[in-house]
Symmetry: D3
């Protein structure tokens, strides 16, 4: 059986990894939706979909997760009523949905899916906003994410990117 797990993964961190491990105790295949795929180069969405897909793929490899996993970029289309159908057209079929985001959860529920909230598994420091804050403030962010993800962030000089982008917000 195949499950779908949706997130933005800005960046992919150990909390995401734990959820994936947990899902794979019940399901043998997984579709990972890399949401808000079109956004990058903002403080809240610093990384491109390609960078995030690579982080996820190499992190799963780092942790020896060998189940069939589809990692699919999905744009926000700002027309909620068709978004689930849009996802379905870009993925193989799935039986259950895991998401922490109320709109995503509601939309899949109205489409007839069983939706599982993922929030209980998350911890305080394994959280995107916190990790991006640490990157801006020269605090330790590498402890929160897989080594493979950190390596990719370094390759694209992600810390400089996020610091320069943060000047936008300070100026406003």
């Amino acid at each position: 059986m195949r499950a779908l797990y949706a997130g933005r993964f800005q960046p992919f961190h150990l909390g995401h990894l734990e959820i994936i491990k947990e899902i794979l105790t019940t399901y043998d295949e997984l579709v990972i939706v890399v949401g808000s795929a079109q956004y990058s180069h903002t403080v809240d969405n610093p990384f491109t979909a390609g960078e995030r897909i690579q982080m996820i793929t190499e992190s799963l490899d780092e942790y020896n997760i060998s189940n069939p996993v589809y990692v699919i970029p999905i744009d926000d289309i700002h027309r909620h009523s068709v978004w689930v159908k849009y996802v379905e057209s870009l993925t193989p079929p799935f039986e259950a949905v895991f998401s922490n985001e109320p709109v995503t959860a509601r939309l899949f529920k109205e489409a007839g899916y069983t939706v599982n909230r993922t929030e209980l598994i998350r911890r305080k420091e394994w959280e995107g906003t916190e990790i991006r804050r640490r990157m801006c403030c020269n605090e330790d962010w590498k402890a929160c994410i897989p080594q493979a993800a950190a390596r990719i962030i370094d390759q694209v000089d992600g810390v400089t990117r996020i610091k320069e982008l943060a000047r936008s917000d300070k100026l406003k």
Copy 2:
């Protein structure tokens, strides 16, 4: 003579109905623009354009309004300079415009239309934000809207929808 009345109708309520009745004392035909048509499933825009169109049509029937009325969904296109032309391409011709929204009013005015503000007719409790708040808080919202509109909201389980969506905002 035909008038145009533009709103979001999230949901259609008795204030809208009074404005329509008032307009129809002067004009015999009406184009109702269901604006922001692409948005749904958010706290501010919970209902789809289809649900809103059905609310309006069945409410007008409930109140025995039998004038020719065109109910047309119109997207926000985020290019204000062409929006009036966009509306004109999706509706029959109209002679006057009724709207409570300053941008809408300004755009139609620059296009040469007579624009009538509708705000004086509105009351405190006949207001979209207030009605959506009541739906979230288990207060009486059915008193503010036509029975036909309430019936459609019940059919799509609108109260559960808006409550679940509201969790997004609380989490942020």
Copy 3:
């Protein structure tokens, strides 16, 4: 029970009218989808969605059809996999679909709808391409369409429009 009837209505003609009458012997409400809504001012799609909606509404009035009818403009979105969901988000619910177009038929069928082909009811001269050809060639086109539709075409000077547009094709 409510049915959906999808077409381009370039222009609305007596064949469409006969199909609508036929549908209304079984269904008491009707959603008329004015497809390819964004296109106008081409030889194949000369009329705007607004002009087509007015043609349909006034023709139904001319023939004293008083059932509840929703006339809704729907864009071609060039992403077939989500089109039915897109239609559903802009219309009230419907139980059956009538269409003459194989793609439309297939899409609604895959979405679980009963689809009825409408082609048998159509005649040779009640056909969009033929009517547009007659408009270009100064032949009798008014016999093929309701008087209300002809009146609207005259009001927008539709015959001159289609003749001028036809020069595009001749030049290529």
Copy 4:
């Protein structure tokens, strides 16, 4: 007084130049609409809008045309009914329109503009399709266009580009 002249300019050639000179005998300012701006790298639309804008600007300089000229890229938006308004939002106001394309001409005419056809001024060899054909076939194309335009085509290696793109059509 300001006129508008719309074309695709794939590439800008001596026929276009003659029309511009002719227009500037009557009008002292000119808006040049570089249409189908989003298209490039096809056999019919080989050059980007940026390349075409540079060709026009440097060619006008080559021929010492010093009138105020606005060169504006305009996308095809595939919604004809709003296209004129779209153009108006991206240009300064203009009093007359020059175009050789029937759809463009019709749309400006319906918007109330005086439209002048430009076709009589054009010659057989000063024509986009012919010039592109010559580029593919190693025939003399430089005689048909200003030297400045030829220089830009050489800089972007335009002949190789068009030849490689032409293989698409041959394969189909």
Copy 5:
């Protein structure tokens, strides 16, 4: 080293598989771009991106190809000048490109990539148009594609789909 291989995969067939095997003799990682991702339910593009991604993934598994492979859906965006950058934003970095399509080849070449044509490896019967024709005509198409791909086509009742869609073309 990572290569990129772009195609439409309508459907994924043994010719594609041979090319992938060939590429993986030189490169150890592969990005497979599922192009024209938004199109489905037409005679030329019958399958959704999700169906095509599943065909590719399960076929690679069937043939025991265990190299890291990214399978990414990419829309046609009809603005060729930014398409390579669009691809780069949705994929991990790659060093070389394999494609049989002249426009794709030219665009990657102008962006500085080494582009390898793949056409020599293809055979007559391992070709999308031919396979889709066989599906329409009840001829043997399963011999041309991996068993995994055939299984997915059967699951979505792909043969019926393509036959029904083909009626569009016959009617025109």
Copy 6:
């Protein structure tokens, strides 16, 4: 050598003019990107791209700046990763970039351009937000902008426009 200078120019003011003069002491040609081109008729973006292009062109003429200057409208496309490529496709080539906006600066830097911040040249009263505030509050705004820009604002009745639009914000 050609430089690019990007801004929104809502409206074009004397600070922009000083920056342009400064750039032209080093570069002999200039591309002026009129950013957020699709937005108009809001409090923050009151003027259309066409109005802004005319302001810039006529102001440069007023100040006798006769270098070759390309004034190009560029939409926000909300897909940052391709935005620089999008700009490049609509402009002639340029060697250096001037911008005051951190996202713009970062994107051009990642694309390999030398980016020069322009903020030091700006003064307190030569600033878009301040000038728009003055227009709303009947304070002196004409002192901050070229006379040509003021003339165009008067021609489109810009002060009334911005005052009427400001009612949106007050109502919320």
